[in-house]
């Protein structure tokens, strides 16, 4: 049984969780999110309804997924709580729009020898990638070590169906990882306006993190 932690249950993380439970009904899934459902979340997250506004996002989604193997953790992923919250996850999935949380996921994945999946969406575009620390390029390799928070969706806007496409590509990376055949690193660029995904391959050796240990 694979253990997956999804951090952030909004447009990308929630869609990934919905697809994951269909793809792998036996998966053990932890949903981590400190936030409450807001009206502005509803157009990108059809797993929530108007009646859910004000309730914790992770807890409502866990209830909707209706599986005993789905656990909700209504908490923020902070560096000092990473071990506690991510626990024994085999793979961590980024459903946040927060670079600090991504740094935490990357650091935890590298320290524990785990893979993680990055997702982001803004406007009509998105990005996803599977990172195996030490084996693939990392966030710092791709975006620089002094990476800064860019605009949020409440500033630039976003469309839920683009987030769905991002989550779908991310689920494809998950399936490839699960098969043990993810291939060379690829940065998947989702172009909602053009209706296509471009993959940028890179085999740069990462100077920031040591190679992964064997999966537990």
């Amino acid at each position: 049984m694979t253990r997956v932690a999804v951090v952030g249950t909004g447009a990308t993380g929630g869609a990934f969780a919905v697809g994951l439970v269909k793809e792998d009904p036996e998966v053990s899934l932890v949903l981590i999110d400190p936030d409450q459902v807001e009206w502005s979340n509803l157009p990108r997250a059809p797993w929530w309804t108007a009646q859910d506004v004000g309730q914790n996002k992770a807890q409502v989604l866990a209830g909707r997924l209706g599986s005993g193997r789905v656990t909700a953790v209504p908490a923020a992923l902070l560096p000092e709580r990473a071990d506690e919250l991510l626990g024994d996850a085999d793979l961590v999935v980024d459903g946040t729009d927060n670079w600090e949380a991504r740094r935490t996921m990357q650091a935890w994945a590298a320290a524990r020898g785990r893979a993680w999946i990055y997702m982001s969406v803004l406007g009509l575009s998105g990005i996803t990638a599977l990172f195996r620390p030490g084996q693939d390029p990392c966030l710092f390799c791709l975006f620089g070590e002094t990476i800064q928070q860019g605009p949020h969706c409440f500033e630039a806007g976003v469309l839920g169906t683009v987030a769905l496409a991002v989550a779908g590509e991310a689920l494809g990376r998950y399936a490839a990882w699960l098969r043990g055949d993810p291939g060379p690193f690829g940065l998947f660029l989702i172009d909602g306006l053009g209706g296509r995904t471009e993959v940028i391959r890179a085999e740069t050796r990462c100077p920031h993190f040591a190679p992964l240990g064997s999966r537990a």
Binding site: W39, F154, A156, L159, V166, G168, Y174, G192, R196
Partner: protein
């Protein structure tokens, strides 16, 4: 009809997109479409279109892959092929839904 304060709050993230704007959101809220295709993908697409403000009638068909997923409404028709595999199906639904929403929001205006 102008958007209410609750609608402006609810749809704010897509109204921020220049491709939609408040006029496009008004058009989405007035749009009606029919979705037809393999059940899981058809329901998923319908849920996203409804969440964006569109009124949807869903016709679920047996799960065969690849299979056509179609959307019809306002004298227009959109179609995609839904491949096997959950992730690939989500990608196809996401791209088709995006095209439908942008076209409906644009109405009869040029891109």
């Amino acid at each position: 009809m102008p958007l209410s304060d609750r609608e402006l709050e609810r749809y704010s993230r897509q109204i921020l997109l220049p491709e939609i704007d408040d006029r496009g959101q008004e058009r989405l809220l007035q749009s009606r479409v029919a979705v037809r295709g393999p059940a899981w993908a058809a329901v998923l697409l319908s849920q996203y279109l409804e969440a964006a403000g569109v009124t949807v009638e869903t016709h679920r068909e047996p799960e065969t892959h690849p299979a056509p997923l179609t959307v019809e409404g306002g004298g227009r028709r959109w179609q995609a092929s839904v491949p096997a595999g959950t992730g690939a199906a989500m990608v196809a639904v996401g791209y088709l839904g995006t095209a439908v929403l942008l076209d409906l929001a644009r109405g009869g205006e040029s891109a």
